[in-house]
């Protein structure tokens, strides 16, 4: 069986990565069909999405119980950039994560770790005019999963971003520096190069850290631009007839 990865970027994970078992029955076996970027691809819902409240970005309090979430409080911030280094303003950034004990608030998470009544585990914000986002949350715990014997996911925070177009949609995960579980994690290791894996590992940033309050981590995210799709295949129809 051959591993296939996106021809858009050789550093992206392949659809089929057998060490991550769920890919075996879910990865498409046919190559994707390359299409040109039409108005459908250069547009996207990002600019249409609004309705974010400031309190949505603080996961230590957005459960709304009046009591803070338990665990190691952290600040996660960074810039959302396009391939040319331009900050992407008004980008919806959504995050979700396990609590400090490694448990998600989700009916299918049966990990025998306590739920924190004061931790929802979901947050969102819009980037500012420089493309900067910022969350206050707690450091998520590692947790076991059934992928292989003694499998534990390294601590991570899920990220969803819209960017300026349909082509810049991204769902990814942020990992923490120095986590010994990372070399054992098939999801992180599905990324084929060490350099690209490192791009998902946040940096501890002492300038973000707040005294007697929270540790700071910086995680910048680079999104594809709508112009990035090459269209190399001959068009079978007379698309350019005038």
């Amino acid at each position: 069986m051959t591993l296939r990865r996106s021809k858009r970027d050789p550093e992206f994970p392949p659809y089929l990565y057998e060490a991550y078992r769920a890919t075996v029955l879910r990865s498409p076996r046919q190559p994707p069909v390359t299409i040109p970027t039409t108005l459908s691809e250069v547009t996207g819902p990002g600019p249409a999405l609004v309705g974010i409240l400031p309190e949505d970005s603080d996961l230590t309090t957005n459960m709304g119980t009046g009591q803070p979430a338990m665990g190691e409080r952290i600040i996660v911030t960074g810039r959302v950039l396009d391939e040319h280094g331009q900050g992407q303003p008004r980008t919806l950034v959504e995050i979700w994560q396990a609590n400090a004990a490694g448990r998600y608030r989700h009916r299918k998470d049966q990990h025998n770790a306590p739920l924190d009544p004061n931790f929802l585990g979901y947050g969102r914000c819009l980037t500012d005019e420089t493309g900067t986002y910022r969350f206050t949350t707690i450091r998520p715990g590692a947790y076991p999963w059934e992928n292989h014997p003694n499998a534990w996911r390294p601590s991570h925070i899920h990220f969803s971003l819209f960017g300026p177009s349909w082509t810049s949609r991204l769902v990814t995960q942020m990992y923490f520096p120095g986590d010994p579980l990372q070399p054992l994690d098939p999801i992180l290791n599905a990324i084929p190069t060490e350099a690209a894996r490192q791009r998902l590992i946040a940096r501890y940033d002492h300038t973000v850290t707040q005294p007697a309050w929270a540790l700071g981590f910086r995680f910048d995210i680079v999104l594809r631009g709508p112009e990035a799709t090459p269209f190399e295949e001959p068009e079978p129809i007379a698309a350019e007839r005038r």
């Binding site: 075996v24 076996r29 069909v33 108005l39 990814t172 999801i187």
Partner: protein
């Protein structure tokens, strides 16, 4: 040729525990004020064994009834509908099912004077998908569908996976659009 200055952030799976992203009614794109013909879309996401994918998230993005996207890149003299964003999001249930209530989109341009057939852009996220999948839904009862320039980039034998099936005798025009991730009848996915 474009110079790529920064390396892209790689994608990762959405995992099984994303459901807090799917707030109530995000799969209903219409309000009483929305212009256009109401439609309903029902589908199921299936894996290579034809088992339902119960932890998928499906997103759609479409033009309004007049064929205008709510986006600054769409600068045409076509009216925006203040009661329509064009974005929807749904999670599959235990049987792998999802549904949307929306409007039939209008036509949007391809190149030159060529128009695309009305279509809905679809993305699929799920545990086991290290990168989301992009596809399109076309309408079987639209006169432009057969000539659509994007649909015609797809091998003829596979085009049918992108054309929804009209569900007869539904109160609102309803379409069935199943997404098969792998194997026989595998949905066509696009590199966009």
């Amino acid at each position: 040729m474009k110079t790529v200055a920064l390396a892209l952030t790689p994608p990762q799976t959405i995992g099984p525990f994303f459901h807090g992203l799917v707030r109530a009614r995000l799969n209903v794109l219409v309000s009483p004020q929305t212009l256009g013909d109401r439609i309903r879309i029902d589908g199921v996401v299936l894996d290579g064994k034809r088992d339902p994918v119960s932890d998928a998230m499906v997103e759609i993005w479409q033009a309004n009834a007049a064929g205008r996207y709510r986006h600054p890149a769409d600068t045409r003299e076509v009216p925006l509908d203040p009661a329509f964003t064009g974005f929807g999001r749904a999670a599959t249930d235990d049987e792998g099912r999802f549904w949307f209530e929306t409007i039939r989109p209008g036509r949007v341009p391809f190149t030159g004077r060529i128009e695309q057939a009305p279509h809905i852009n679809v993305m699929v996220f799920a545990r086991g998908l290290l990168h989301h999948l992009c596809t399109r839904l076309y309408f079987p009862d639209d006169p432009l569908t057969e000539a659509d320039p994007v649909l015609n980039l797809v091998p003829a034998s596979r085009r049918g996976t992108l054309i929804a099936a009209r569900v007869p005798s539904a109160a609102v025009p309803s379409y069935r659009f199943d997404i098969i991730l792998q194997g026989e009848g595998e949905t066509v996915f696009f590199e966009v």
